[in-house]
Symmetry: C2
């Protein structure tokens, strides 16, 4: 039964590099589990180059075909520096409303790019697409990771992604079954409750999964949430009515069913590491992802077989599904394209830029007047998390205004407060410094989660700056909901840009689109983000 | 003459990953220069794993033995994540005053560790040790990179480092000749002037270089500074009296003389890319590092040979010195230790911790009373630069107080100001929040360079917190000068720690040493920094 377990390892090579040593197995443990036949590893951390070496190493330790997966939903570069980082899926969901054919074509290329990059690293299983319908903008955990806000959009685009990623010889994974879009709590922390009837599920939640299944998706991941209409007792991940009844029998899915990470407190805190694994298999899962304790899970499964609680035939069928999935994968490539990195990277970079351009939105005037340089006010959830990716010191959002004489004021979750006590004029202006203010807000689905207080009063701050004649421009990177809240507040003559992507490539394009009035575009036309 | 040029490349594989595209050649250019016979590459950026792949790739492109170097002065992990990051050299300089034998032994192991790690990555040339005597605490560019504040200390330890690093089959490099310690401007920006006589140089600046040469150091790097007593016209890097007269003839150095990066404005801005390279070779340099334009440098050298300005015999002698140096190197290893990363990393990690422990200093009481959780006030030069290395979200300085209920207040160069207008009580306390304050200052040699204003009033802030009974503890990470300024201000009963190293390993140890009163030690004894 070892092969039904997928454990977590660091993408980095040495133990001392692990970012989360509580969750990432040390090398000696990882190696002995692989030698014992554990079926897969989910990797987090490390650059693309490091992960490529790591995958080679893990395959060598396993000595058998191995599932190697990662949570890459926005291009492999989202997790592994050096691979391609793409705009979040919801950007294409919005585009689909205006240009459905273009959005579909881009979603399929999005999948191909993700598959090619994954394959280049040695990964054979991409844990995407998210098939949840983000019909609750307050959803703290899905949000821009979803492909749409309605079932038709999410389904059409997720299916296109599946076709793309699997054409590259890499397995896809539709998640989080039966739908995690309409929740307002985070199952990383608690167990959300979805009160919906079967009819409502069939109308909203299930269609994207059905489309992904029809597109041949190799695997489906379960959600950690309660659906009392289907199972009063157990969360979807551990529910036979959900996994066997609904997914296997009613929807006719014949591929791999994998749990979401069992280590999450909503599951392990409630059932324990061993029992959670047994319950998942009993419910109809084929693979158990990230049990809190792999040894305990293996022992509990063995005991459940011995006691007759789990049938050997069922586990053999799961093992057989795993082997069939592995046979669908292209063989692991030698390694990353060391011989000619540009040939591998260029088509992907072209797509990344095309996606940035197709999904960016602008509002207001492009600013005819050239104001003097002023304050570049940047809001990040966390500078520490962002610096590694979004906002290195050389990032255009930071470096370009600085090179033109603007001063940066960087607000992040742990900064001293910029807020005073006046709710109509919340920004403590004396802490800003003089001059026009360019507002760049990096916010994904979950506004200002990192801040100590509750929601920050950006609409009031925007009005305050506008009243004072000091608002030079606005860029929202990430959340369409924040953009839609702020855009109507832009005074005439002040340009605004919405960029679904937060990466440097998107920053350069956004500053360009702010218009010549601000003087923050690239001086050499088309020179891209290497400013 | 191509082989006398050392160009700069990114340690990352693909062009789009370059952090500094203005300075790092794109792959097509780098490849064609290597195929034409360029003699070496200096690498910056990338993880250890990525650099290992990169070195293999560059050697393949060159098709000949190649010098592959990096500015690693504080362990290879200082630049390349995954390798070992050691305390700054000046930490051993301070230890040498108390325990000279221990410091010497540790300096040699420091060199061995650096050499082994470099070798594991495929680098064969470490651009260290710094042989400058840091007798000017205001020095903005050398500071904790030096091995000592006096010639005897700096020389003894630098020589020990040379023995260690070269024993691992990797070339060392004594820099910045004839001594950059007594300057108060940064040659990255302007050309510092050193008014010293030959007698003074012989007494202070030269001895560490003489000791490194006696220890067999393979190369010496020149400094970009004016020494009017030796050469009224040209900076040391381009000066025949300095390179040929003093270094080659008077000190009898027979190894490789390499310039510091010619791209720096102090040189290229004044002489131009081609002429600077010719002047350096004329002065007696063997290798030209990072010319602003490699093609221009090669063309100018060719023209200087054609016109008789440079003798072919001299360039051939330099090429011969380069080959001899390469013959001293161990062959490139297959790659990073993928088969058994722990076996490679463990002895280095043991040394890293030993260095942290041997060089940490404490003051004051270890705090008997347990205060309630309060404010963890962290000062960084730049959160964006630091996050990649020093202060990831999981770093002990941040994560451990947070896990015990402390609130973090993160100040960095671009944060809103925490300062009010009262010079005796400069901290605007109402922006801090309530409770005791733990002050953690991450400052290297160049205090608060990232801040908009001039020096920040930390001594007054410390007194202010002490007067208010709110100072719970102080940790200074990096600068011994800031520590010595603040330590006498600690009131009785308030613990203080000085940690020369800023890395997570050092943070865990420093919090442990703050004492049980603060409750920030590791709960499991000896569990290290994986808290």
């Amino acid at each position: 039964m070892h092969q039904l377990i997928v454990v977590r390892g660091s993408g980095k090579l040495a133990d001392h590099q692990r970012g989360y040593p509580r969750w990432e197995l040390p090398n000696n443990k990882l190696r002995s589990l692989l030698e014992a036949g554990v079926g897969g590893v989910i990797l987090l951390g490390g650059s693309a180059a490091e992960v490529a070496l790591r995958c080679t190493q893990l395959r060598r330790w396993a000595g058998q075909p191995l599932l190697l997966c990662a949570d890459v939903e926005e291009g492999v570069g989202q997790r592994f520096d050096g691979a391609t980082w793409l705009v979040p899926p919801l950007a294409l969901g919005r585009l689909y409303g205006r240009e459905p054919q273009q959005a579909l074509e881009l979603a399929e290329r999005y999948g191909q790019c993700t598959g090619r990059d994954a394959q280049g690293l040695g990964l054979n299983w991409v844990l995407g697409p998210v098939c949840d319908v983000n019909n609750n903008p307050a959803n703290p955990v899905i949000n821009v990771r979803a492909w749409g806000e309605d079932p038709a959009t999410a389904g059409a685009l997720a299916a296109a992604f599946v076709r793309g990623v699997q054409a590259a010889g890499v397995l896809g994974c539709a998640k989080h079954f039966p739908g995690h879009g309409d929740t307002s709590s985070d199952s990383h922390i608690t167990l959300p409750l979805l009160p919906h009837s079967r009819e409502r599920l069939a109308a909203i939640e299930l269609p994207p999964f059905q489309q992904a299944i029809a597109a041949g998706v190799a695997s489906v991941m379960t959600a950690h949430l309660m659906l009392p209409e289907l199972d009063q007792e157990r969360p979807a991940t551990l529910s036979k009515p959900v996994l066997t009844g609904l997914l296997r029998q009613q929807l006719g899915f014949g591929g791999l069913i994998v749990t979401d990470a069992l280590v999450m407190d909503a599951i392990t805190g409630r059932y324990g590491a061993g029992e959670a694994a047994v319950l998942a298999l009993e419910a109809g899962a084929d693979l158990v992802l990230m049990p809190a304790d792999a040894d305990a899970a293996i022992a509990a499964i063995a005991e459940a077989v011995a006691s007759g609680r789990l049938r050997v035939e069922q586990l053999e069928a799961s093992a057989e599904r795993r082997l069939q999935a592995l046979e669908r994968c292209a063989g692991p490539e030698a390694a990353l394209a060391v011989a000619d990195p540009e040939a591998a990277a260029q088509p992907n970079q072209v797509l990344a830029l095309e996606l940035v351009r197709a999904t960016m939105e602008t509002a207001g005037s492009s600013g005819a007047a050239t104001p003097q340089a002023g304050i570049n006010l940047i809001r990040l959830d966390s500078a520490l998390a962002a610096a590694a990716a979004v906002l290195k010191a050389t990032a255009p959002a930071l470096a370009r205004p600085e090179s033109r004489g603007w001063s940066t004021l960087l607000l992040e979750g742990r900064s001293p407060s910029p807020w005073g006590t006046d709710t109509d004029a919340p920004l403590a202006m004396e802490r800003l410094g003089p001059g026009p203010v360019l507002l760049q807000l990096f916010v994904r689905g979950n506004p200002f989660r990192g801040s100590a207080g509750s929601a920050e009063p950006w609409p009031a701050a925007l009005r305050q700056l506008a009243r004072a004649g000091r608002l030079a421009g606005l860029v929202v990177y990430g959340s369409p909901y924040l953009w839609e809240e702020l855009r109507p507040l832009l005074p005439p003559g002040v340009p605004g840009v919405y960029s679904p992507g937060q990466m440097p490539l998107a920053q350069a394009e956004a500053l360009q689109r702010l218009g010549s009035g601000l003087g923050l575009g690239d001086t050499e036309a088309g020179a891209g983000f290497t400013d």
